[in-house]
Symmetry: C2
Subunit: 282 residues, 2 copies
């Protein structure tokens, strides 16, 4: 079984980003990372994203708010960042506290700065397969892992476990755009092992530690693990028991070091694209 | 094989619409039907929709433009209708001539009048499964045919043939909302007969006359035919060769007289919902 490591994919995306940065001709794009509260997952992702951006000389501005901020105050602060012409892209760490109207934020975000694809304009573009869409970075990272490893998608049976707005649903649309035949499974799927086993490419985006093992995987399938969970020993792990796939799956992504590490590369790529669009550089 | 007729479903939706109209307390909702050019399919759908609306005392205003209208002029005319406070809902017959920027119209349409779900706000709502979404009427008509015939969707294997923005993709999202396991097939699907045969519920939305026959259908499957085509003898027909399914499918919708006839009922329902929202009636 070949391990599809994120680092190799990120290295390829890096070349694209460096090309974009050359085109920007000295202009340094600026990313706003907005975090409400002190959720350790958010802090960890913020750190990883910041490190990745600084590697490209991308400017990162951190906007951190107390989890007790009122909805009214947060909407005002968000709109300031949203309207700030010095900001090229926005990464909003989610979910927000329940006291904040997340739907209102999604409707407010400037589609040109919405580089993680949370607002209706980008969602509709992803849905209709428009090339100018910013898809959610994690969903696009899955496509990048497959494409940059020369794994054919056209006509392939792709099964996605999970139907979230961050991965499952947008990924289904991106897969359709690549001419894959797409099946979406979830907690209510009957005989899910059997459904998964039929897949040429199986994507686990359920958010449950070690939910899928070899019993879910067909011979020679490619298995992409989007899960980032903490197991009972406090260790980072995916949705897939990857070790159990040896001799069955042809390829699989590890966790950590797989899709997750590509996500921030996609974010950096989207930010550069947003800056190029702002400066009207083709 | 039981034929699932549209008329019986429309009769049930009629009761809901009459309840809405009672709540509107004398206010008569107004539908704008916008047509560019003289496409016979458009004219036929406009006639059918008008007849259905008049049966509910719904006011229909017809806006018809020459296929030669310039993009600039059409956008101005569209915006007038879009902003007209006397209009509660808009049905835009599509596709528009290629000279018109259809994407611009989709972005312009007032989400509260977008009762056929063509704009980004409603697309995003359908995608995320929000209850306030106006889904494209044909996609929702499929759900109505199944639900109002007491056909369980939860946990069922649903296969949709076709990935259009009008039926295939939004219907996949509506099916996920009902907890079905959804597979989307299309022209690039390998071994499509086999994939379709596994479905508990098979939806044909490919737009090709008699594309699917008994070889695509599993024992006791429910077959929903969304196709409206004209066969080589000039007769209206669906995507499914329904006669061939006898003894295999448990239920199937006819064409004509199936899903198509429910679509305008869903349109009338959406229009009443839009009017209720405008008047702030719960």
């Amino acid at each position: 079984m070949i391990l599809l490591k994120g680092a190799a994919v990120s290295a390829k995306i890096k070349i694209e980003i460096e090309d974009f940065i050359k085109k920007l001709n000295g202009f340094l794009p600026t990313l706003a990372i907005i975090r409400v509260g002190e959720n350790p997952d958010d802090i960890s992702y913020e750190k990883g994203a910041t490190k990745k951006m600084l590697g490209f000389d991308i400017i990162v501005k951190h906007y951190t708010f107390s989890k007790d901020i009122s909805n009214h105050d947060f909407l005002i602060e968000f709109e300031k960042i949203n309207k700030d012409t010095a900001i090229d892209g926005i990464l909003l760490l989610r979910p927000l506290p329940k006291t904040i109207d997340e739907k209102a934020i999604e409707r407010m975000i400037d589609p040109d700065k919405d580089i993680d694809g949370i607002g209706p304009v980008n969602i509709a573009k992803v849905f209709s397969g428009e090339v100018s869409a910013y898809a959610p970075c994690t969903a696009e990272a899955v496509i990048e892992v497959l494409k940059l490893n020369d794994i054919e998608l056209k006509g392939k049976a792709v099964t996605i476990v999970g139907r979230s707005m961050v991965v499952g649903k947008p990924l289904a649309m991106l897969m359709l755009k690549e001419d894959a035949t797409v099946t979406i499974c979830h907690t209510k799927t009957v005989d899910i092992k059997h459904v998964c086993k039929r897949a040429d490419i199986l994507v686990a985006a359920a958010g449950r530690a070690h939910m899928l093992d070899v019993e879910y995987v067909g011979q020679d399938a490619v298995v992409i693990d989007v899960g980032i969970n903490v197991d009972k020993d406090g260790k980072l792990c995916g949705d897939v028991d990857t070790l159990s796939l040896e001799g069955v799956a042809s390829m699989a992504t590890p966790v950590p070091g797989g899709v997750g590490s590509v996500t921030t590369s996609v974010l950096a790529k989207h930010l550069c694209m947003a800056a190029l669009k702002k400066l009207d550089i083709k």
